[in-house]
Symmetry: none
Subunit: 419 residues, 2 copies
Amino acid sequence: MPDTSAEIVAVGSELLLGEHVDTNSAWISSRLAEVGVDVYRHTTVGDNVGRMVDALRQACGRARTVIVTGGLGPTADDLTRVAVARLANVELQRHAEIVAYLQEHFHRGGRQMPDSNLLQADIPAGARVLEPVGTAPGFAIDLDGSTVWCVPGVPREMTVMVARDIIPALQRLGAAAATVSRVVRTSGTAESAVDEACAAVTRRLEATGNPTLAFLASRGETRVRVTAKAADRDAALALLDPLVDELLELLGANVVGIDDEGVESAVARQLRRLAMTLAVAESITGGGVGARLVTVPGASDWFAGGLVTYATETKSRLADVDPSLLEAFGPVSQETAVALATSARARLEADVGLAVVGVAGPTTQGGQPVGLTWAAAALPDGSTPATSRRLPARSRSDVQEFAVSMALDFLRRQLAELS
Amino acid sequence: MPDTSAEIVAVGSELLLGEHVDTNSAWISSRLAEVGVDVYRHTTVGDNVGRMVDALRQACGRARTVIVTGGLGPTADDLTRVAVARLANVELQRHAEIVAYLQEHFHRGGRQMPDSNLLQADIPAGARVLEPVGTAPGFAIDLDGSTVWCVPGVPREMTVMVARDIIPALQRLGAAAATVSRVVRTSGTAESAVDEACAAVTRRLEATGNPTLAFLASRGETRVRVTAKAADRDAALALLDPLVDELLELLGANVVGIDDEGVESAVARQLRRLAMTLAVAESITGGGVGARLVTVPGASDWFAGGLVTYATETKSRLADVDPSLLEAFGPVSQETAVALATSARARLEADVGLAVVGVAGPTTQGGQPVGLTWAAAALPDGSTPATSRRLPARSRSDVQEFAVSMALDFLRRQLAELS
């Protein structure tokens, strides 16, 4: 007997060829989570009736709700209608009102309807039609205690049908509860160290199973996600709020923000707190630090701008770095980073300067290895702290993205100590 | 008995919650297609040993090759090792050489290894270890005629292992035929216009079914992808080469590059052809134009650097824009863009200057609507062409990314006309 969970089946050979990334399953899953429906499996199959029937039969054996996306178009390789009819052991029936809708749809667009679109009016007998958004109607059919919902693969059509037809139906079924997640984001520390800092919380939550906790690492950040199920969104948030506070306490200075807030938001918050402005000087990142900062709304309140001193001679020309210093220490050095931070602060008349230099690769630079990166700050008290790291040297753009995160995390930690 | 096809199993509750989109399965699938391995199913399961074992057992029942991505991290919810050991009915064995590797990895980064990372040295007995890229080793194990390959979920680690270990192994198995795609990328024109320009090719290819052609639109680019199946990669490329040439001819000045080459590569190619250097002045994009340019290897040959004149007063302070001009026309205007391009060119002693100004949102700026963007160039002959567009105003970072693409496409078209 199927449980109350849902599964999603994405249909399309282009997905199995890797030509398209399936974004529909994630979108549908997050909508289902919001109304408390658990999704335990995503399956992707190609445009093949036999394999579609197999996948749908298995999904119906496990889940009460199966949502199929894709394969409802007008072409010969759109086979979801055929597969569902075969699984249900019913015929396809042509719906006159869908034919009329399609003819009107094409007429409005000033075009003649190709005969192939008539296929879109064929629906498995006994299924309920979901009104089309473009040309493809969806449908829903009950099979041995499961309901199979079929919606188009085109995202703007799929999203309308899921929101309009499927979510309200699941809510009427009395979906158990809401599932809500919050995320505490850390930077500048290893995933395993974050894990260890949270070990006591992890053990406590494992004992109850709700809320749950997970760790996600990417682009120099480790995120701690807590997820709660409760009767509704507010009740779930009430479970999560004290947990988020506890994590903030445990993770201390490693926290950059909550939910959507990246390290750039933490920098913005610190600068607003201090009522200070920032200027940057970038070499390895070519402008990436500034680009990340200006994604924060209202950045012009605290971000003055910067110098992109990419070519070595530009460091002298634009940022007054003494050529003999460049000669002595090289462009990728603490001395150069400090000189650039100081110059950015002075040239842009900002309170704080931040500089980042490094070797992006693919080749070493002046004997310095790929990935070596220095960040330096010029602070209002005249101090010029600096830090270096050898970033993992994968691709050039990887090193550059890491360098942006490293520089911003360094600055965030410096600013946190100012008052 | 499993056939010669492959299946991909992505592991991670964050995928089922819709918090992450699974891009790994598509990437792996396209690599498998290139060596002629058919992928008939993708499955996504959460961090749950029972459901992982079920999904893996089913996949092994259908496919000779099963590739698992994710669940190899150092935390308690990384369970792929445990699930595979249970499926194979073997113990986990701690590998001393992996422990040594991990200790060295952390030591090099100047950090102490947390104990939890030791879990990553536990591999199901009888499995072959795949050398780690970050901290997570992969492994491969043979089960009843199928091989299960386990690789990390972190894309930059996964991609290395698939290319280094899995693809060569599958090629040694004697995969049947190759499917190869090439992509012609256009910028600055509508998808429907690209579609129309290729109409004759589309009709011709539809008659034969091999190669095939598809259009993909994203982030201000339209890509035309042609895909051929043939006995091997070279034979497939031989089918594609004349087709790519034909598309380049049909799409003319709208083409920015082929395959991995974005508009930044086209700009780099033009600057190398002209033996010219470039300086930028950026406002709305905060450094994003420079950041995109420096992803091209060897950028220091032609990219001098730039001015990030984000705050309005910085436009005068750093780039000598006449305050009365700013007062008269506003920071988002053709006049300001031209003044910034001219100043960047002069200040950095470059051959060409490029500037971009605009309104990123969320609110209008001096009566100018969100999305309004001006790009201007300062060319060696003294001319200062400019262009404006009202970019689709979705999120702030969307507008900023579009503005980077728009400025670079404008520059590419200007440079193409120089000699």
